[in-house]
């Protein structure tokens, strides 16, 4: 590969050096793939997360979260969505946890609203993953800071309409 990195730099039009290099690379490639050696380490011990106690948000409810998150003028309604889910004693599905935990980790404004919705599995993940090490040190996680959760204001008709649509959309969930 060193030869390939540097290049043959041959100046004549013949391609013997290049062909030879490529053939050697091909053999090395085949050997590397066929003879792949797996690294080994002590296998982790099973460490099952605690059982969940909250109901799972439905697909429609999660769809509304996605819609609000990406809405141009309705982003702050994510807070309203969270408060509604907290009132319904719900949590996000396990499959959505990486996305939600990333939001919590990166978005201080929403962290307090989303945290109650991650369930036992989400707490378990935060405790164990290096990705959330900094978050584990925040007052929000340690419990020293429990801000009051307030719904977003409705500055205009568009936002009010979106909120009404959302509430109607998840009314039967």
């Amino acid at each position: 590969m060193a030869q390939a990195m540097l290049g043959t730099q041959s100046t004549d039009q013949g391609t013997f050096a290049e062909q030879a290099t490529l053939k050697q690379l091909a053999m090395a490639s085949a050997a590397r793939r066929a003879g792949f050696i797996a690294q080994k380490s002590t296998p982790p011990t099973a460490d099952p997360a605690p059982k969940e106690t909250l109901k799972t948000c439905s697909l429609t409810e999660m769809q509304w979260l996605h819609k609000l998150e990406h809405s141009y003028f309705g982003k702050e309604l994510v807070r309203n969505w969270c408060i509604e889910m907290i009132n319904r004693k719900k949590r996000v599905p396990h499959t959505a946890l990486p996305r939600i935990l990333a939001l919590i980790n990166n978005n201080k404004d929403w962290a307090a609203y989303l945290l109650p919705l991650i369930g036992e599995r989400g707490c378990w993940l935060i405790e164990r993953s290096d990705t959330y090490e900094k978050f584990r040190q925040t007052p929000l996680w340690t419990g020293e800071d429990a801000p009051e959760l307030t719904p977003a204001e409705k500055p205009n008709e568009q936002v009010s309409k979106l909120l009404a649509e959302m509430m109607e959309g998840i009314a039967h969930e």
Binding site: T8, L25, S29, R33, P93
Partner: protein
């Protein structure tokens, strides 16, 4: 009978927006008639116009038909009807003519695919087209070889190697030469440097070497065994007619487990790879579907389910790719104790080495592990042996759904990286990255 429930519906419906719309519709009062019999369920759904939309579902395989103008398959009306059906809202009835006509048409099409009389080809025109294709490909192969040799002459530290444009240009030339798969592989090289993998340069050379070997093999194709020659032609971009495969290919009837689904997309084309495993034959089959971005795939095979049917393999030194010729009956969930996954990473590596020995151009093999863990971008077996994941971000998702348990997973191994496709967690079968 297929086990129809909401989990099964979620494997049929790939568009989450549609699922949500279907749910909303199912809860509305826009339905006039909702009925079913053994084979199908049908309904009338009121839209914005005067006439209601006519919706029906073939309960054997989940195929849907709706008279609405939506281009999504299944549309929200079909999904709404599926949900109403599993929730017991359909009453027993006799299918109306528009339902029986559609079902009869499907049955006739299925029979015709099996025994379709092929139109007698015009030998002279066919030979002319074939000759023209071979001329284009031969020229394309020569051009590719010159390009790769020139790249080696300049050296891999050439900054152009990190440019999308550099690789897209040669990719386009290969597509012009009717070597689309080669074009696709070259196009992917442009993104390697940006995937934040420490060994990206070695992966680049690995792929370049494999492509060069392919060109060498093509130039000597007449001296190679026919099954291997088929693999080379397929890798270059020559296609075989599905009707020829169905008529002449190696046929296997078995109970097929649908183990994994992987979706990929490049430019305007999307690809779907569905892996099947025959319980009696103990063979894997790869159903590879392609569709334009705006079109649905021809058929969906729900992972986690099994069906009895006939598969026909494409000719190959190491047969993997196949077509589904016939499905007898319906889908049923795979019993967990019938899965034949490997116990260790070593077994997967051995399988791959054996495959490579038979077909040096095999790109990946199916790989299931009975007990798996992931950590820091690696998949780990119960003995602690690790394989790098193709996408290290899959670790977070895996841990979220596995919840600290060792769980069965299925994917593809390409000799260097493992692509997770499906796993079995508390919630049942899940497709990688599903939200």
């Amino acid at each position: 009978m297929t086990t129809w429930n909401e989990a099964f519906i979620q494997t049929l419906v790939t568009d989450k927006n549609s699922l949500s719309d279907g749910e909303k519709l199912a809860r509305s009062n826009k339905w006039n008639i909702i009925e079913n019999d053994q084979r199908s369920t049908w309904a009338e759904a009121q839209g914005s116009g005067k006439k209601p939309y006519l919706v029906c579902i073939d309960l054997q395989d989940g195929a849907t038909k709706c008279s609405c103008p939506s281009r999504k398959f299944p549309c929200k009306h079909a999904i709404g009807l599926m949900l109403l059906f599993v929730r017991g809202k359909a009453q027993a009835g006799t299918p109306p003519e528009w339902v029986t006509t559609w079902l009869d048409g499907r049955d006739r099409k299925r029979e015709a695919t099996v025994s379709k009389p092929t139109k007698a080809p015009d030998p002279a025109a066919q030979a002319k087209r074939e000759a023209a294709r071979i001329t284009k490909v031969t020229a394309g192969i020569d051009e590719l070889r010159l390009f790769l040799e020139d790249f080696v002459r300049q050296g891999g530290s050439d900054p152009r190697a990190q440019s999308y444009e550099f690789w897209d240009r040669i990719s386009a030339r290969m597509v012009d030469a009717q070597m689309q798969p080669i074009g696709a592989r070259l196009s992917e090289l442009g993104g390697l440097a940006y995937q934040k993998k420490t060994d990206w340069m070695s992966q680049l050379w690995d792929e370049i070497a494999r492509l060069y070997t392919l060109t060498e093999a093509y130039q000597r194709i007449d001296s190679l065994p026919e099954p291997l020659a088929h693999d080379i032609r397929g890798a270059i971009g020559f296609t075989l007619k599905q009707e020829d495969i169905l008529a002449n290919g190696e046929s296997v009837t078995d109970r097929w487990q649908i183990l994994g689904v992987y979706n990929d997309a490049q430019n305007a084309l999307k690809e779907r790879r569905t892996w099947l495993y025959g319980e009696n034959s103990q063979r894997y089959a790869l159903i590879q579907d392609f569709a334009h971005n705006t079109r649905p795939f021809d058929a969906y095979y729900p992972y986690g389910q099994a069906f009895t049917g006939e598969i026909v393999y494409y000719p190959s030194a190491y047969p993997q790719r196949a077509l589904v010729k016939q499905i007898n009956g319906s889908y049923n969930p795979i019993p967990p104790d019938s899965l034949k996954f490997e116990q260790s990473v070593e077994a997967i590596l051995e399988n791959y080495a054996n495959a490579l020995a038979i077909n040096p151009f095999v790109r990946f093999i199916p790989a299931g592990l009975t007990q798996t863990w992931t950590m820091r971008g690696k998949i780990i077996d119960i003995g602690g042996a690790q394989l790098p994941l193709k996408k290290s971000a899959q670790t977070q998702w895996f841990n979220a759904v596995a919840g600290g348990n060792w769980i069965p997973t299925f994917g593809e191994w390409d000799g260097l990286e493992f692509q997770l496709t499906t796993l079995i967690a508390d919630e049942g079968w899940l497709e990688m990255g599903e939200v």
